[in-house]
Symmetry: C2
Subunit: 245 residues, 2 copies
DNA sequence: ACAAAAGTGTTGGAGATACACCCATGA
DNA sequence: TCATGGGTGTATCTCCAACACTTTTGT
C-alpha cells in the first residue's frame, strides 16, 4: 500500500491535482437511424466554419458542489429543453495520454484555467426521441448538431473511443432493461420499433416473430390512429404506457 | 454550456482541484460463501486493535503517470502475489458528501497531503479463487482480511455503498460473460460450482438441471480425480479449460 | 447405522425459429 | 400500375422446469 517508488513517492507528487469532467453521449433515434449529438465549438476569435473548430461530445468540468449525476443533467439541460431524459453513467476514462493532439491542447489552453492538469472524465450516455427533441438555440461560440452514428467525424480528445464504449454499453443494457422506449417518440409504428431493435442489437429480426413478441408486451398499446402522408400503406400507431402495479 | 451561475462562475471556482482514487472490491469464493477483502489500517500512533482503526475496501490515489486500470492492478498486487486476476471497472463515485464522518476526515488529515480536497473514486471489482490466494504479509500499519459478504461491518467513507454496487454489477455481468470461473479454484466440484451460481444469482437451482447444463459447457472438463477427506461421498473434480478456436 | 452430500432421466409445456403472400397508399 | 413498407398464421424444434431415489464415504 505505502510502498515508495521513484515514480510515486508519498507526499505531494502522489497526489497531483486532477480535473474531473463529465462527457455525455446523447443518442437519438429519428425513426430510421441512430444519431449522436455533437458540439461544434469555435476557438475564441475564429469563426465556426474554420477547420480549426473543436468537435466533441458535450461535456464540462464538474462544479464544486454538484454530484456526477447532477453535472451530467446540467450538461444535458443546457442543450435541450427537455426534462426527464434517461441518462446513465457507463465508464470513467482517465488514461494519462487522453489529450494528445496539439489542437486539443490549444483548445484547453484557451478555455481552461488549468490547461495542463490531467483530466479524468466520467462518461454518461442519454437516450432521446429525436422527434421530441427541442434544441436550445446555438450561441455564437458553440452549436449542437446531430450526426449519424455511422459517419462520425474525428472527434476531440478520446471522444471517438468514448462514443464507441457508450454504444457497446447501450447494446448490453438494452437486453436487460426497458431502455429502448426512451428512444422512441410518443407514437411509433412497429416498423420503427423493429428497426431500432435491429440497429441496436446489430442483427436482423423476423417481422412476424417480432410482432408476435410485441403483442405480448403489456406496455405497448395500439392507438386508434394511423400514419399519414407516407408513400405506402399507413401503419398502425402504438404507444408505450408504463404499467402501474 | 458556458452559462454563468453564482454557484459556478467560469474561471477558477469552476475547476477546483480533485483527488482521484481507485477502490477495488475484491470478491473471493472459498467453496462455500462469497467474501470481500478488507483493509484494516491503524492511525499512526494507535494500535491495530483500537476501535479507531479504519476499515475499508483497498484503494489508493492514482499516481501521476498511471492509468485507472494500472492503478487498480497496482492496488491488487500490493495485497496478493497473484498475477492475471480478473478486474473490472464498474462505477465512479463522486458525490460531494462522500466523506461525512468525522473519523474519516481525521484519517484523511493524517494520511493525505490535501485532506480537504474533494475526491472522486473509480470503483473496480476483482474476482479471486480464495484457495489460490496468497496474501502479502501484513505491515505494522495495515492488514488485509477476508470478511463474509453477509456480515460486513460499517466501512469507511461510502464503501458500504461501493460494495453493494459492485455486487449488483457482478450479478449482472455473470449472466453475460464467463466471469464465474475466475472465482473457482483450478479443481472444483459441481456442488461448489452450483453453490457459487446460487449465491451470485441469489436463487436456488435444480441440481439435475444444473448438471445437465454444465455437461453442455465444453469448457468444463471432468478430471480423473476425486475429492478426498470429506465426510460424505467424494465428488468428481472438474476444471475449466479455455477453448482454443 | 447414520449423516451428508453426490449422482442420475424422463416428461410436458413454453418459447423460439423458419417461412410466403396479400394489402393500402402516394406518385 | 408500380414501388414501398404494412400486416398476417402455422408447424417444428429446442430449451426449461418439475420431480425422487440410490450411492459412497467418514464417524
Amino acid at each position: 500500500m505505502m510502498t515508495k517508488t521513484p515514480n510515486a513517492p508519498n507526499g505531494d507528487a502522489a497526489s497531483i491535482p486532477f480535473d474531473v469532467s463529465v462527457d455525455n453521449v446523447v443518442f437519438g433515434f429519428d425513426g430510421d437511424i441512430l444519431q449522436v449529438l455533437l458540439i461544434r465549438q469555435g476557438l475564441p476569435g475564429e469563426d465556426m466554419e474554420s477547420d480549426r473548430f473543436h468537435m466533441a461530445v458535450p461535456g464540462d468540468l464538474i462544479y464544486p458542489a454538484e454530484s456526477l449525476d447532477q453535472a451530467a443533467y446540467r450538461i444535458l439541460s443546457n442543450l435541450t429543453s427537455l426534462e426527464g431524459i434517461y441518462l446513465k453513467q457507463f465508464h470513467a476514462f482517465g488514461a494519462p495520454g487522453r489529450v494528445f493532439e496539439e489542437k486539443d491542447r490549444e483548445w484547453l489552453r484557451r478555455m481552461r484555467p488549468h490547461p495542463e492538469r490531467r483530466v479524468v472524465t466520467i462518461g454518461y450516455y442519454s437516450l432521446v426521441a429525436m422527434a421530441e427533441y427541442e434544441p436550445v438555440p446555438s450561441s455564437f461560440a458553440s452549436r449542437a448538431e446531430w450526426c449519424p452514428l455511422a459517419d462520425l467525424p474525428r472527434l476531440a480528445f478520446d471522444h471517438n473511443a468514448i462514443v464507441a464504449a457508450a454504444l457497446e454499453q447501450l447494446r448490453a443494457d438494452v437486453q436487460q432493461e426497458n431502455l429502448i422506449f426512451e428512444l422512441l417518440p410518443e407514437k411509433f409504428t412497429l416498423g420503427q420499433f423493429q428497426r431500432l431493435h435491429e440497429i441496436i442489437l446489430d442483427k436482423e429480426l423476423d417481422k412476424r416473430n417480432f410482432r408476435k413478441n410485441v403483442k405480448k408486451m403489456a406496455e405497448v398499446v395500439a392507438l386508434d390512429e394511423k400514419q399519414e402522408g407516407v408513400l405506402h400503406k399507413p401503419a398502425q400507431l402504438y404507444t408505450y404506457r408504463k404499467l402501474e402495479d
